[in-house]
């Protein structure tokens, strides 16, 4: 089985990956509560980053409105739980379905009317903004005053209703990030994966080789939307409060795409590496500021900006591709699936 999973991954990379997984599983045994919350943030960004990467990194479709799917997923599962007592394990299917439909509508409109490239990106922003305004004025989910879940009792973990300690959420997100990695790895090696890469590289050539552009672009938009919404479900049950101004805000959409950009767009490890780097550095900076007694609002945003600047200037492919070469993690190929 493992031979199949690591298909196209060098033995060295497979060994390191296994080691990393073991370390992450054992981590909560030694880590402080604070470190767990940082790791939760990292895994969250790695997961949603992977979902966004599927669309942009593999199929070349730029979305700047992924907060829409996070928000829809979060509100769907939370509303079902609060109003009807529906377990999030059932609610997540509704979340995925709603996000998939939203993605499908946006994808359909864009493809039907030939909205592509940056204009497509603007369309995704517009829909996220529509949702923000709509949820702001929707009393059933609290409107702009916010929507609240009954606060969790940390003493006991209720996995059925996702009420419990950060450690529970840590393991959930770890499982989700691992599952996302494995699924994306498998997708890349499927027919759809090859077609997405072809569309990213040259839509005209892909079409001439029999690729139905509409169909395969729709697949990736819907899949990415559904996958992202699961991140939203966790977001809702972990934070226990949702405000449209925060959840659907464009800064959320931007925050979500930083990890894959810095880690390496179109690579499987990129979102994970990027999330680790960004979150640990940003948290470290925050700690440092606290120690020095400096309180400047917006330091994190400036820091994100600087990180992007450095990556764009010196590592245009992101951190992962040169790192993989340095660590000799790729197989002896100049480029290709193994490096992703």
């Amino acid at each position: 089985m493992s031979g199949h999973w690591f298909d196209g991954v060098s033995p060295r990379a497979a060994k390191l990956l296994t080691l990393l997984c073991v370390a992450l599983v054992l981590f909560p045994l030694i880590a402080s509560d604070y470190l767990i919350t940082v790791l939760i943030l990292i895994l969250y960004f790695a997961y949603v980053g992977q979902a966004w990467n599927l669309m942009m990194g593999f199929a070349g479709q730029l979305s700047l409105g992924h907060a829409l799917y996070v928000g829809l997923g979060a509100y769907a599962a939370a509303a079902l739980y609060v109003h009807f007592g529906v377990s999030p394990w059932i609610g997540l299917w509704a979340a995925m379905a709603i996000a998939a439909v939203a993605g499908g509508v946006i994808g359909f409109l864009a493809l039907r009317f030939g909205v592509a490239g940056v204009y497509f990106a603007i369309l995704t922003i517009a829909f996220a903004e529509f949702a923000r305004l709509a949820f702001d004025h929707w009393p059933w989910v609290g409107g702009s005053a916010g929507f609240f879940l009954p606060v969790a009792n940390y003493a006991s973990n209720d996995l059925i209703n996702l009420r419990g300690s950060p450690t529970m959420f840590y393991y959930l997100l770890l499982a989700m990030t691992a599952a996302a990695f494995v699924s994306c790895h498998a997708l890349l090696r499927s027919r759809a994966g090859y077609y997405w890469l072809a569309i990213r590289e040259s839509p005209e050539a892909a079409q001439a080789l029999g690729v139905d552009l509409f169909r395969y672009k729709m697949y990736v938009v819907v899949l990415s939307a559904a996958m992202t919404s699961l991140g939203g479900v966790i977001f809702a049950f972990y934070y226990n409060n949702l405000f449209p101004e925060q959840v659907f805000h464009i800064s959320r959409s931007i925050e979500l795409i930083l990890a894959p950009i810095i880690g390496g767009i179109g690579t499987l490890f990129g979102p994970i590496i990027g999330a680790f780097l960004l979150t640990t550095l940003a948290e470290g900076l925050g700690e440092l500021m606290r120690l020095l007694g400096i309180d400047v609002p917006g330091v994190k945003q400036v820091f994100y900006g600087l990180c992007l600047l450095v990556v764009v200037m010196f590592l245009p492919d992101g951190v992962w591709p040169p790192l993989a070469r340095r660590l000799k993690l790729e197989q002896q190929r100049s480029q290709g699936l193994a490096e992703r």
Partner: protein
């Protein structure tokens, strides 16, 4: 033999410029037909009409009896027409192998089967040593070969070749000619080729169609066409005699 491709009264204008006017011709099944003419004669426009990139203003295109004008390029590919691009369009970030696999997935569903087909084609086109090189790193002649490998990988009944010999050395041209002759003989592959390299056109085509200003000015056997005064004047030049 029955015509595999049948084109009737095909016309296409681009904002007033009549790129292709009232073009009619047939490509019989199993034949190799050359499409020649000076630059700007409408050859590539003709190809793009057949391949579904443009919708014709008038006229009909039939492939083996079914009308295909107005279909999308991917539908036309699935119907059995493979094409190469004059200005090559490799999937630059993918390897040579991955490029060909995308084409092969048109005929088989499984990636593993597509790999087998691609391996064979890469061998045939002399790209075996570069199978794991990024397509973007290839030289122009290799990119042309990759275009052909990718188009062949879709398992076409008919191949549209748009200047695949351009930039090849004479020995390479001969190898490519031999390959097409072999594919034509063994698989009965029908080929319509736009080509300026007369050495290749004369060696391969059983029939040649000459376009000029978007119109067919001559059609027939190669030696017939090359002696046609109108063709000599507009394209081949007097010295070709």
């Amino acid at each position: 033999m029955a015509a595999l491709l049948n084109i009737k009264g095909l016309s296409k204008s681009f904002s007033g410029l009549k790129a292709v006017q009232e073009v009619s011709f047939e490509v019989p099944a199993g034949e190799i037909v050359g499409l020649i003419g000076p630059n700007g004669a409408g050859k590539t426009t003709c190809f793009n009409l057949i391949a579904g990139v443009y919708r014709p203003d008038a006229g009909e295109i039939h492939l083996a009896g079914s009308r295909i004008d107005g279909w999308r390029p991917d539908q036309i590919c699935r119907a059995g027409i493979g094409r190469t691009f004059q200005l090559v369009k490799p999937f630059a970030g993918l390897t040579v192998m991955e490029n060909v696999i995308v084409g092969a997935l048109n005929q088989v569903g499984s990636v593993r089967a597509a790999q087998g087909i691609s391996e064979h084609l890469i061998e045939q086109l002399g790209l075996a040593g570069k199978r794991h090189a990024a397509a973007g790193s290839l030289t122009l002649p290799d990119r042309k070969r990759l275009e052909v490998a990718r188009a062949l990988a879709t398992a076409p009944r008919m191949l549209l070749l748009d200047e695949v010999m351009a930039g090849l050395r004479p020995t390479e041209t001969d190898r490519m000619v031999a390959l097409f002759r072999d594919l034509n003989a063994s698989l009965g592959l029908t080929i319509l080729m736009i080509e300026h390299v007369m050495r290749a056109v004369m060696a391969l085509s059983r029939r040649i169609i000459v376009l000029h200003h978007g119109q067919v000015i001559a059609a027939g056997a190669p030696d017939e066409v090359t002696r046609n005064p109108a063709v000599l004047e507009c394209y081949l030049g007097e010295e070709a005699l």
